[in-house]
């Protein structure tokens, strides 16, 4: 195991990684920006280093500053968390050349999976179903029109380097396709410096289900079951659960096998997620691979009893997987609610500021992952995630009941949050039945 690890992130995931390190007796170095300098969670690190001003580009996204801090603090490895530099292959590369272990997949895998069109090709090669679409990228309008004629409208134009819905357009006919290609290319070039596009058939109201993967450096790959992440708002996940509540046994098995097959075929190492969409007939299609720990990883930890961040640390330090596939037992049901600082009455606008009172829920079956406390000031510079409430109970019905009471007793004053949205989701009858898709929030809750 490593002696000393630098945590190149902030907020709840920085604290999550720190907890895993402390439990493994690994020393921690936390880097922070000026905007985070008063945060109490920094107290728990063995060493803290200020790496720049509040703006991320000069601190949490500054590769030179983070590498310098790692060298000064003499760490063996860097955990990037999620977001920021977690899927930056250049950063992974520089870590390697600096003799610092990057806790995640290799730079090559990060790069391959970051190119969505390339990942799609890899999935096709491995025999995993992908949404009908272009084989590889599309170079111009002509090619786009040809693909559209073949797969039929509506189609989705997507950026290879894409993420978070940017560089994405829906087209219902030739005219909107041509316009969409131009708009998506311009947006992708502006956002990612790369205007490469590909196309997929539009799947209406899909479910979003993803499979957690672990791979070690000896070629062993296992899956840890799936998560249903269909409760989304503008392509952003709001609530996740594991296992997926309504999935035929054979589909579930095929999903798991497909994920493992793809991970094996590309030589995936460390922790990652293979994401799929399912249409209303439970046909599934690969969409992408996330080559990092995800926000929603705790639901998988609860149903398997496996600590994913500790596994990341073990794998990166050269250990073999601590569980064989047979040893992974899925038990019980877990739900996670992401609590954001945002105003539910004003189009969920981010809402930073001073948290005057913060009383997290507790008791049986409740886990809270948060860096927030009474008196914490939510900076305006970073994302609005305040923390996550995770419940774990023997059955889904019990998990729903526990999450309801946990949300009801959660007190957050001083800033607006999305607690009320979660309270409504947990009392919605469609959600209670367990089968819902990515249109659920819009159809049942956001309309009013």
């Amino acid at each position: 195991m490593f002696n000393r690890v630098l945590i190149a992130n902030r907020g709840e995931i920085a604290l999550r990684v720190l907890r895993a390190c402390r439990e493994l007796d690994v020393q921690t170095v936390m880097v922070y920006s000026k905007a985070d300098e008063d945060a109490v969670y920094l107290r728990h690190a063995d060493e803290t280093i200020c790496i720049g001003p509040g703006v991320s580009g000069e601190s949490y996204l500054s590769i030179p500053n983070i590498i310098s801090a790692a060298e000064i603090a003499d760490v063996d490895a860097i955990h990037p968390g999620y977001g920021f530099l977690a899927e930056n292959s250049h950063f992974a590369e520089i870590c390697r050349s600096s003799n610092i272990e990057f806790i995640g997949p290799s730079a090559e895998i990060v790069s391959m999976m970051g190119d969505k069109a390339r990942a799609r090709e890899e999935a096709e090669r491995a025999g995993i179903p992908v949404v009908p679409g272009s084989s590889g990228t599309i170079s111009d309008e002509e090619e786009g029109l040809a693909v559209a004629r073949e797969i039929g409208y509506p189609v989705l134009i997507k950026a290879s380097a894409g993420g978070g819905g940017r560089g994405m357009r829906l087209a219902h006919n030739d005219i909107s396709l041509v316009n969409g290609i131009h708009a998506a290319r311009a947006e992708a070039e502006a956002a990612f410096g790369d205007g490469t596009l590909y196309m997929e058939k539009w799947v209406d109201k899909p479910r979003h289900v993803e499979v957690q993967i672990l791979g070690d450096s000896y070629g062993n790959i296992i899956h840890l079951g799936e998560r249903d992440c269909s409760v989304q708002r503008r392509n952003q996940k709001v609530l996740e659960e594991a296992p997926c509540a309504d999935l035929p046994r054979d589909v579930r098995k095929k999903l798991h096998r497909s994920a493992v097959k793809l991970a094996k075929s590309v030589g995936f190492e460390n922790a990652g997620t293979v994401e799929f969409i399912l249409d209303e007939d439970d046909r599934f299609y690969f969409i992408e691979v996330n080559a990092r720990i995800q926000v929603e990883h705790p639901v998988t930890e609860m149903i398997t009893g496996i600590d994913l961040v500790k596994e990341q640390l073990r794998i990166a330090s050269g250990d073999k997987l601590s569980h064989s596939q047979d040893q992974v037992k899925v038990k019980g049901h877990a739900i996670e609610c992401r609590i954001n600082a945002e105003d539910p009455d004003d189009d969920y606008r981010p809402c930073p500021g001073l948290v005057t009172s913060f009383i997290p829920p507790g008791g049986s079956g409740v886990r809270v992952d948060t860096h927030v406390y009474s008196g914490y000031r939510v900076p305006s510079l970073y994302d609005s995630l305040l923390g996550k409430v995770i419940v774990f109970k023997p059955t889904r019905a019990e998990a729903v009941a526990t999450m309801r009471r946990a949300l009801d007793e959660f007190v957050i004053e001083g800033i607006k949050t999305n607690l009320s949205l979660h309270r409504r989701i947990l009392r919605n009858s469609v959600f209670a039945k367990g089968r819902y898709n990515t249109a659920f929030l819009k159809e049942y809750l956001l309309k009013g």
Partner: protein
């Protein structure tokens, strides 16, 4: 808070018919409450004290390595005997290793007493094997050099104390 101040407060209370005063200053660790004999007050609002001046001390005996002290606050390093006027710190613009000279054989860029301009190179900070020349960004006389040669510095850490005009 002293008795004089309390006495003054009590006078003000009488003068203005005030029946209750509460005052807290967690920084100073003081809390004062003065309450006159009056008929039972209405149910009081529970005050969720948000005024959390956090750091304070951690409670009780701390196990080894449990909670290390935070990086020293820059203010703590300000010498108490220097005149407060016209003193400016030159902060480190990056994380790295501080060097006072180009190489061990060379003379330091500046010594205490040196008069510098905004453009004067005052030190080198090595980051990712790159030697970065750091300019003062302030003009005046170097009063103190706050970091030892070869020490690691973090972003914003004061490097020099300069007396400006």
């Amino acid at each position: 808070m002293d008795l004089d101040m309390i006495e003054k407060l009590l006078e003000l209370m009488r003068e203005h018919e005030i029946v209750e005063v509460e005052y807290e200053d967690p920084e100073a660790g003081t809390r004062l409450k003065l309450k006159k004999a009056v008929p039972p007050p209405p149910p009081s609002h529970p005050v969720l004290t948000p005024a959390l001046a956090l750091p304070a001390h951690m409670e009780g005996v701390m196990p080894m390595g449990a909670l290390p002290p935070m990086a020293p606050a820059p203010a703590a390093e300000t010498p108490q005997d220097v005149e407060r006027a016209n003193l400016t710190e030159v902060p480190s613009p990056m994380v790295g290793t501080f060097y006072r000279a180009v190489s061990p054989e060379n003379d330091p860029f500046v010594e205490v007493g040196a008069v510098i301009t905004d453009e004067s190179v005052v030190c080198i900070i090595e980051a990712m094997k790159v030697m970065n020349e750091i300019k003062a960004e302030v003009a005046g006389e170097v009063v103190e050099i706050l970091v030892q040669n070869g020490e690691a510095v973090e972003f914003g850490q004061p490097l020099f104390l300069v007396r400006t005009e």
